[in-house]
Structures are given as structure tokens and as C-alpha cells.
């Protein structure tokens, strides 16, 4: 029994940490721009493919592939800002319009990948072999690596937001766009930066997710949906809540997969989320926003 528990905790933490990385990006973007980036899943997949292209097709060192993926992810995030977010910022129905526009951008990206790399699943080269034995359970080094990288990234994002000038500008913009602008914050630059950062994080999580499964043009849809669910459960835009919820949902998913089987793990999770939202419509960590009419 204790082996089962170790197994569930280990795989739950790995899944949760992976989700957390892609969720931070989404949550950061929602927190500062108030937009749901539906192209996030496609950017995530693109990161995985770039790493594959550099390391396998070109035969360059895998680490270089990872760096290139981060750079391309950041550029794609920037592209979403320039193509979709910037022209729509002044629109009255920004929330709806940007949602639809990024669905379009995501579809274009997804089908470009289909065209470039084909529909067949490919293996992710950025992975390590071997495993570690804890209490009679074998845990792959890859899972431990993923957990470590995720924790490092989360700490880095937290430091960036709390300790740097840029982080302060991001937080100020998130709190009140007009006030930040009046204080001399270049709001446009902040938005571009936030989307680029979110793209880079998405690319890293794309590499991590595909290292446990395989690469395919549509692989981003599932983690994106889960990242959104995590955001919703935490309360949209709440980054710390998102990290906690991601780890919690990762563990829950691992438990659900063990109890009701892999096939219905995700469905069980969704039922739970719907119940949570009926109980607390603004998420576990969210606060009811009082809107003056």
C-alpha cells in the first residue's frame, strides 16, 4: 500500500509541476491584460517541436534545442501581442474579441506545425534515462528533473515579480492600467513582456510534457485545457493560487487515475471542478470582484 502511495504522490507531483509551469504563463497574462490566450496550447507544442528540430533533425546539442525553443516561444508570445492583443486593447468587448482572435491564431499555428512536421507522433529528444528507487518504487530521473526545473522556474518568476523593477511594473499594470500609465509605466512594453514570458514558459512546459509522452501537433490542446481549468479553480489571474491548485489537481488526477482508471481520470477531475465552481464561483483563491455599475 505504501508503494502505491509513493507512486501516486510522485506521479501527481510531476504532473502538477508541469501543469503549474504552463498555468503561470496563462495566469500572468490574464492577471495583467485580462485576456485568455487560446493560442497558448499551440505555443507550447511549438516549443516541443523546435527542441526536436534542433536536437534530432539538425543533430545539435539538446540543450541548444531547449534554448532555441524558449526563444521561439517568447517570439510567438510577442507575435500574439502584436497581431491580436495590441489592435484590440481599445475595443469595448476586449475579453470576447481577444478570446476569438487567439483561437484563430492558435489554429493557424497548429496547422503550420501539421504542415511542417506531419501528424505522426515524434519522440522528444530532451529527456534523460534511468530511475531512482525510493521505498521500493522506481521513479524515473526525468520526472525528478521535471519537478526540479519546474520549482526553479516558479521561484524565478516569483523573484522577477517581487524583486525587480520590471516585476513591479507588471504588478502595477495588473492592479490598475490607467494609474500605472500615469506613473510613467510603459504599459505596452509591459504587456509585450508578459506575453513573451508566458510564451517562453509555455515552450518549456511543452518540452517537459512531450518528454513524458510524444510530440504531435494537437498535443497542446489537452494541457491548455487543464491549465485553464487550474486557473479557473484558483481564480483567474491569481498566480500563487494557480501554483497550489496545479499541484493539488496533479495529485487529484493521479489519485483519480488509480481509483477510477486512466480513461475516466480527466472526466472525474472536471466533475470536481464544476462542483467547486458552483460552490465558489470565483475560484478557491479568488475574491468576488465588486463592479460599480
Amino acid at each position: 500500500m505504501s508503494e502505491v502511495i509513493v507512486q501516486i504522490v510522485a506521479s501527481g507531483l510531476t504532473i502538477g509541476a508541469m501543469y503549474a509551469v504552463s498555468t503561470i504563463g496563462l495566469s500572468l497574462v490574464y492577471g495583467s491584460l485580462g485576456m485568455l490566450n487560446m493560442a497558448h496550447g499551440a505555443i507550447l507544442t511549438f516549443g516541443g517541436y523546435i527542441a526536436y528540430y534542433i536536437a534530432t533533425t539538425l543533430g545539435l546539442p539538446p540543450l541548444l534545442g531547449g534554448l532555441a525553443a524558449v526563444a521561439v516561444g517568447a517570439l510567438l508570445g510577442l507575435a500574439v501581442y502584436i497581431v491580436a492583443a495590441q489592435p484590440l486593447l481599445r475595443s469595448r468587448s476586449f475579453e470576447t474579441s481577444i478570446f476569438i482572435a487567439t483561437i484563430g491564431v492558435g489554429t493557424v499555428l497548429e496547422n503550420v506545425m501539421l504542415k511542417l512536421f506531419g501528424a505522426y507522433p515524434l519522440p522528444q529528444p530532451l529527456a534523460v534515462g534511468g530511475d531512482l528507487e525510493i521505498g521500493g518504487v522506481h521513479i524515473p530521473y526525468q520526472n525528478i528533473l521535471i519537478l526540479a526545473i519546474s520549482l526553479l522556474l516558479m521561484a524565478a518568476v516569483a523573484l522577477l515579480l517581487k524583486r525587480t523593477r520590471i516585476g513591479r511594473a507588471v504588478r502595477a499594470t495588473a492592479q490598475n492600467r490607467e494609474a500605472a500609465q500615469l506613473m510613467g509605466v510603459r504599459v505596452g512594453t509591459v504587456y509585450a513582456l508578459v506575453l513573451a514570458l508566458s510564451g517562453a514558459l509555455a515552450a518549456i512546459s511543452g518540452i517537459m510534457i512531450s518528454s513524458l509522452t510524444t510530440l504531435s501537433p494537437t498535443m497542446g490542446a489537452d494541457p491548455m485545457l487543464k491549465a485553464f481549468i487550474i486557473c479557473v479553480v484558483a481564480g483567474l489571474g491569481n498566480i500563487y493560487g494557480a501554483v497550489v491548485s496545479a499541484l493539488l489537481l496533479g495529485l487529484l488526477e493521479a489519485i483519480a487515475q488509480y481509483v477510477v482508471g486512466v480513461r475516466f481520470g480527466f472526466a472525474t477531475l472536471l466533475v470536481l471542478v464544476i462542483v467547486v465552481l458552483i460552490w465558489r464561483p470565483y475560484g478557491l483563491f479568488g475574491h468576488r470582484q465588486v463592479v460599480r455599475l
Partner: protein
């Protein structure tokens, strides 16, 4: 008020006359069957537009509701041998119940939460259907899961058009879907121009005043979501009848995107815009069929371009042009 009524009536009569004449003019089966499909998608899109454009409910569960109607009619026919003329309205009724459930769960939330939650619900139903491989019954044709699994449900009976009309049964299907669309459009006109449309307009223009006059957003949204689901479910059931099969492929995100593009291209919140958008996108899709690989890239680009460059859609453009024209005429002939 009377002006817009008269215009709606005139547009409806002209369009209806053209639609009735199509099978008499074109003898090609392909044109008639594509037009049949157009009527079905147009029905879905007019109802989605009511929900999204008029009611402000960002529902992405519309295709799940469509599937609910289709699966209800098909499964009633397959398991209980319920005839389709009864199964189709029952499909609509069950869809209303499902939509009320979804509405109760989602409509207290704000815009983006509603979109994500409805998408999640649709995905959950889809995942459940394709992952359920336990045999519910074991007919000679092989294992049959409760919802038909990946293969879907077939052999659930017919409306009897084949016996009645022989080889030209598809023309009967054409008129059936046309009738469905006419009813759906009439319903949407009644909603937009009636008290419910006024309530939503009030909530949009001055939410504070509207709420203080006792207009409850939640109540009206739930009503609208439930009522429009009836036609979405009917459309699903008629779709299943027309193709004599229903499978989980109606949940595909590409289809959802295709239909959403129709509304956005035509004009969100207008009565005729979604119909125009549906017609244009089906024609564009027909044109892009040769470039199958680039079809989705084109679709995504069209959607993005319209949201950013023409947020009011083609209907919005035509309104702006006619208003401009009227102004010019006033200038040209001073009183």
C-alpha cells in the same frame, strides 16, 4: 420598430422564395445536399448568435447541445425503436433540460469563466463517449457501447422519405431542414425584437439602471439559453436523421471554430449576419477544399482578421454603408 419588422419580413420572403426554388432549379444532388447541410449549420449558428451576441453568454457548449439532440433521437430509435418523427422533438426537449443544467452551473459566472467551463463540459462529454468501450449490448454487428463509442450510433430508423419519394428523398430532407431554419429564424426575430431582446439591450446599455428596474441578468440568460437549446437540439436530431448516423466527430474543435467564424464574419448580435456568414463560409470552405492542408490555416486567419479588422462583421458594414448613404442623400437634397 415597425420599420425593422417590415424589413425582416421582406428579407425573409425573398430568401424563402429562393430557398424553395433551389431544388426545382438545380437537379444536381450535390448542390441540394450541401444546401441541406447549410440549413442545419445556419440553424445552429442563429441560436448560438442569440446566446452569444444577444444574451452575452459565451457558451462553447453549443455543439455538445447539438450532439445531445442528435444522440437522444438516435439512441431512442436504436434501443427503444422510437420512431424519428417523435424522436426529433424529444431530442429538442432533452437538450433543453441539459442546457438548463449547464446554465444553472455556469451562468452565475462571468464571461471568460463561462467560456472555459462550457468548453470543459463539452470536452468531458466527448472524452466520456470515446473512452467508453464497455459493451452495453452485443448485436450481431459487434460490441455496442452505450453511446456507440468512436463509431457512433447508426441504424436508428428513418422518417420514411425513401419509400415516399424514392430516389429524390434528399429533396424531402432539404425541405425538412429548410422548415427547421425558418422556425429557428422566426424564433430569433421574436427574441431579438421582443421583450427579452429589450431586456438584454437594457442590461448592455445601462446595467445599473436595468438591474434596479428589476431585470435579472441570470433569469433572462437562463431563459434564453434554455429556449435556444431547443432548436440547437432539433438541428442535431435532424442532422442525425439526414446522415442516418451520429458520431463523436461533431464535438471536434475545428467544427466549433468553423461555426464560430460564421457568426463573427456575419456579425455578432444581428439577425441576418450569421446567415450571411454561414453562407459565405460554406462557399469559402467549398473553394478551399482543393487545398485541404491549408483549409484550417485559412479558417484561422479569416477568424482573426475579422475580429480585429471588422469586429461588427459584414452585417455591421452594411448597416454603416446604408446609414452613410442616407446621410449623403439628406445632404444632397436639403429641405
Amino acid at each position: 420598430m415597425s420599420r425593422s419588422w417590415r424589413r425582416d419580413l421582406a428579407v425573409s420572403i425573398v430568401l424563402l422564395a429562393i430557398a424553395v426554388a433551389v431544388p426545382l432549379l438545380f437537379k444536381t444532388r450535390y448542390i441540394v445536399t450541401q444546401a441541406t447541410l447549410f440549413f442545419i449549420w445556419a440553424t445552429v449558428v442563429t441560436q448560438w448568435n442569440l446566446v452569444l451576441g444577444v444574451g452575452g453568454i459565451f457558451s462553447l457548449a453549443q455543439m455538445a447541445l447539438f450532439a445531445c439532440g442528435a444522440y437522444t433521437a438516435a439512441m431512442l430509435g436504436y434501443y427503444l425503436a422510437v420512431p424519428l418523427w417523435l424522436g426529433i422533438p424529444l431530442g429538442g426537449a432533452v437538450t433543453v433540460l441539459l442546457s438548463l443544467l449547464i446554465g444553472l452551473a455556469c451562468l452565475r459566472l462571468r464571461g471568460p469563466y463561462v467560456a472555459l467551463l462550457t468548453l470543459a463540459i463539452a470536452q468531458m462529454i466527448f472524452i466520456y463517449i470515446i473512452n467508453d468501450t464497455d459493451c452495453f449490448t452485443n448485436p450481431p454487428s459487434g460490441c455496442m457501447p452505450l453511446f456507440g463509442g468512436v463509431r457512433g450510433v447508426t441504424r436508428f430508423g428513418e422518417l420514411g422519405f425513401r419509400e415516399l419519394f424514392g430516389a429524390r428523398f434528399y429533396v424531402a430532407n432539404y425541405y425538412l431542414t429548410l422548415l427547421l431554419l425558418v422556425l429557428a429564424v422566426l424564433f430569433s426575430i421574436v427574441i431579438v425584437r421582443g421583450p427579452m431582446g429589450l431586456a438584454f439591450q437594457a442590461l448592455r446599455d445601462n446595467p445599473g439602471y436595468a438591474v434596479s428596474r428589476g431585470i435579472s441578468r441570470f433569469k433572462y440568460q437562463l431563459w434564453l439559453f434554455g429556449l435556444s437549446a431547443f432548436f440547437t437540439g432539433l438541428a442535431g436530431a435532424v442532422y442525425a436523421t439526414n446522415f442516418r448516423a451520429i458520431g463523436p466527430d461533431v464535438f471536434s474543435l475545428t467544427l466549433l471554430l468553423f461555426l464560430l467564424s460564421m457568426i463573427v464574419v456575419g456579425g455578432l448580435g444581428t439577425i441576418w449576419g450569421p446567415l450571411l456568414g454561414a453562407a459565405l463560409l460554406m462557399l469559402a470552405d467549398e473553394g478551399m477544399k482543393e487545398l485541404s492542408d491549408y483549409r484550417n490555416i485559412g479558417l484561422g486567419a479569416i477568424l482573426t482578421a475579422f475580429v480585429i479588422l471588422l469586429p461588427r462583421g459584414l452585417a455591421g458594414v452594411s448597416v454603416a454603408i446604408s446609414r452613410e448613404g442616407r446621410r449623403m442623400r439628406h445632404k444632397a437634397a436639403p429641405p
